[in-house]
Symmetry: C2
Subunit: 326 residues, 2 copies
């Protein structure tokens, strides 16, 4: 059974929902062995409350952690006792531990993946990939979602190659359709960065299908949408916010008149546009699988993130990432 190391600190509502989520995953029969990094007494207490036996998990005891207000550089020296750092160290040193999950400070997790774990050859900084549900019930991988705000065309090519590895391992697609986020589908549309990357991607061995535009995010036209982290972050947050706003409009109009139908509608909108509830952001570049779950994570998000890690591992994600930039 594969070990997943889980940093329990950094979520908006504290460690409890994270631990309850781990317990729920175990009770649902998800096939993994958690190594929980946090205060042992708290961990044991929540796991016991949830009916999880002491031998179903390991603990790395610490009550120190990096907060969301700390600078990303907090993962450097002086914080060796912080849960995130201990989790990275455990992941690095243990061959039977394949992945790490954390709701912590994204910047610190990114820097930590470089200085505490290590990136695959050919990469200076990891990228963030999100798997978004499309309207035709597939998944589209958006990369980069915000780790790299200033990019070169070669960065975008690397994102494309890593997105290709993600899509093939996570979604089981043989030749993922790779696209570039731009202002129009036609070749020649876009800023200088996109135009340069377009030329490079045309020459690559990837199944490059050209540009997509802002309206194409969730239609399933492409399997991978490549973007600099600035635009990727903006479109991701926008899509979630518009989805949420639509839910509020529907709720306001229908909740008292037809609560049952309205509930089904808002549930459908939630499923379509609340990406955080359906898993976490996958780091592209670290030598082992790292998934960042959203700070607002609840029990179900944690279960979804653990299932995401197992699915990635089954698809040989780490191996594919290690080889895709050669």
């Amino acid at each position: 059974m594969e070990k997943i190391v889980i940093d329990i600190y950094g979520a908006d509502n504290g460690a409890e929902p994270v631990l309850s989520g781990v317990a729920k995953a175990l009770k649902c029969g998800v096939d993994f062995f958690p190594v929980l990094v946090g205060e042992e007494s708290v961990i044991d207490s929540v796991m016991q409350e949830n009916g999880i036996a002491k031998d179903a998990y390991n603990v790395i005891n610490t009550d120190k952690y990096i907060t969301n207000n700390d600078p990303p550089t907090a993962v450097f020296g002086g914080n060796d006792d912080a849960s995130m750092v201990k989790a990275y160290s455990y992941l690095k040193e243990n061959n039977d531990c394949t992945a790490m999950l954390s709701p912590g400070n994204t910047g610190a997790l990114l820097i930590g993946s470089i200085c505490r774990l290590g990136l695959v050859a050919g990469l200076k900084f990891p990228a963030l990939a999100s798997a978004l549900p499309t309207l035709d019930n597939k998944l589209v991988c958006l990369v980069d979602c915000g780790a790299n705000t200033d990019c070169t065309a070669n960065d975008l090519v690397r994102f494309a190659k890593m997105g290709n590895a993600f899509s093939s391992s996570y979604c089981g697609i043989k030749e993922p359709k790779i696209s570039l986020l731009s202002v129009g589908r036609e070749k020649g549309k876009g800023n200088t960065l996109v135009k340069e990357a377009y030329e490079l991607l045309e020459q690559s061995e990837l199944n490059f299908i050209g540009n997509v535009e802002g309206s194409d995010l969730l239609i399933g036209y492409a399997d991978v949408i490549v973007s600099d982290g600035f635009s990727g972050n903006i479109i991701l947050k926008n899509a979630e916010a518009i989805g949420k706003a639509a839910m509020q409009i529907i709720e306001r109009l229908g909740a008292s008149e037809n609560p049952e139908l309205t509930k089904r509608m808002t549930n459908a909108l939630f499923k379509a546009f609340d990406f955080n509830s359906q898993g976490g952001a996958t780091f592209l570049g670290p030598k082992k699988t790292v998934v960042k779950m959203h700070g607002s994570a609840n029990e179900d998000t944690v279960v979804a993130c653990i299932e995401q890690i197992i699915r990635l591992n089954k698809g040989n994600f780490a191996e594919k990432i290690a080889n895709c930039l050669n």
Copy 2:
């Protein structure tokens, strides 16, 4: 009464909806005098069908026009008979004509505003502004929506100043709250371009309130959101597409079960997220008011665009734009 010159060609469904829209505006008592550029017999026929007397409008007769497949440079030499070019010439040469409306080729309209009409001093290329309805029933101006895909920090400052002029004249706001689109609200978040523009805007006389992020587009936090045209185009198209997708989900779930409630819901979503139906993109930079209406424009869009022009003129938009870059 002010004259508005209207290029009737370039819309997806031909000239007829554009002309019907003009007729509708006249019948609704909107206070303007249309100068219609297009084939006289067609114009007269549609206006007559709609009960508009021949003395309620002027015609500049031509059956030539620039299509959406033509390159933007089609407005240069050799196309002096094209409706768009004739409209620009009329606008330039007639003091009592204050504005132009066209559903035509956006690129050609942009280039045409430079070479056929002229920009205010201090500007090399116009920007596109959209007034979007916020969830708290205000309007937010997004600039640039796609005219300038590669920008410098000084470009963003010019967009901010012109957005300020737009917001104060169109929305009547005394000191519009100006913001920069970025990946987080905190100072220091963003790409190099945004960080540089942030410093410049802090030193400006504008009411600069800092960054907004992708989730802030429609919440009414800022009156003006400044962006390079690449990210601005992407977020605008994304917001519309997500809104449309939400409408389809609601329609599918509720249309047969509770058609009346479902109709009210989809109408509300349309009102919130179908920006094209509520007016056009305003050009920031030309010496006179130019509004581009969407190719999919229907009658009501045309009426909304004409009302938009009148509202801009009442707010001394052209004068404010002429002076804002000094």
